[in-house]
Subunit: 159 residues, 2 copies
DNA sequence: ATTGCTATTGAATAATATTCTTATAAAGGG
DNA sequence: CCCTTTATAAGAATATTATTCAATAGCAAT
């Protein structure tokens, strides 16, 4: 793996801003908005993808539409050696687990899970978490309502 | 607001699967993959957007590229009356705060925050959180490393 | 100034998006 | 059963975009 070098200018930032806002904005529109040729934008976007500045494009789907209204965070205490995330990788393989973070403190993980309902959560804990070796204990926090949920980063403004 | 009715069939699920995987997949490609006419796909995608099954399209940007390598979760105990999320809304207005969840238990919130570094986090706590009336206490959990982070939902398969 | 490198433009062509008309099929009424 | 309504899809025609490529503008270093 080569060390990745990001070297972004204001135009890149503007592209990122637009893409964060609507990833399906087409090149022509971006070009018009930035007052440049579509081909130039295409070049830049490709470069951003290739440099892994843009990691992927995803559609945010309404969890309710797929009957996954329940959201929970679970703290997991594991006996992983520091720096080796065996349990972490196994957690990551569970489809309902959207996030797995190795956290400071109680040598553990924090995961974010979506299930249909409470029964689905119990199910997941029994059938998926229960089968992972190395989990010492868990503590579950249930989300009653989500006020905000996005992954937009703060894009630097002109300096 | 009318009660939203989702009524999705297998074709919709397939479209959602494709879109979750790559939101920039074009109509023609989706049509080819599903063996349908592009115009039919266009209709369905528009309908999915309009029914708010697809909420938005976003580009996932490498936090490192924007110098936001630090990720933290903060539990916030607030004196909001249950059901009224005054503090929650104020938290949601902070750009570095990506998520705000109203959680069960200690009448509080769980927020997800991205900053440049520890100094940025301290800064945010002092300058942004510090100015919100109604916050009683906070407890911060720092992420050492993220093993998985996505928002893909489990799309039902054929029944 | 000259060289070397990178990014941009503009034009040409390939590919898509979008609109609209027509065709099909399922559901409900009489 | 026939008719009507509603929803979805196909296909054709046209408007827009994407993509490629050659020419050139900018810039930094010398």
């Amino acid at each position: 793996m080569a060390k990745l070098e990001f070297n972004l200018d204001q135009i890149d930032y503007q592209i990122l801003r637009i893409m964060q806002d609507n990833a399906r904005t087409n090149n022509a529109d971006i070009a018009r908005e930035l007052g440049m040729a579509p081909s130039a934008i295409l070049e830049r976007v490709k470069k951003l993808e290739q440099k892994e500045v843009i990691l992927q494009y995803n559609a945010k789907i309404n969890p309710g539409a797929l009957d996954q209204k329940m959201l929970s965070f679970i703290f997991i205490k594991a006996q992983d050696i520091i720096g080796v995330q065996k349990v972490g990788f196994m957690l990551a393989e569970i489809p309902e687990v959207q996030e797995v973070h190795d956290i400071a403190g109680d040598d553990g993980y924090l995961i974010k899970v979506r299930t249909t309902d409470a029964a689905g959560l119990v199910d997941l804990m029994r059938n998926s978490l229960g089968k992972i070796e190395g989990i010492i204990s868990t503590r579950t926090t249930i989300v009653l309502e989500t006020v905000k949920e996005e992954q937009k980063l703060v894009v630097p403004t002109k300096k």
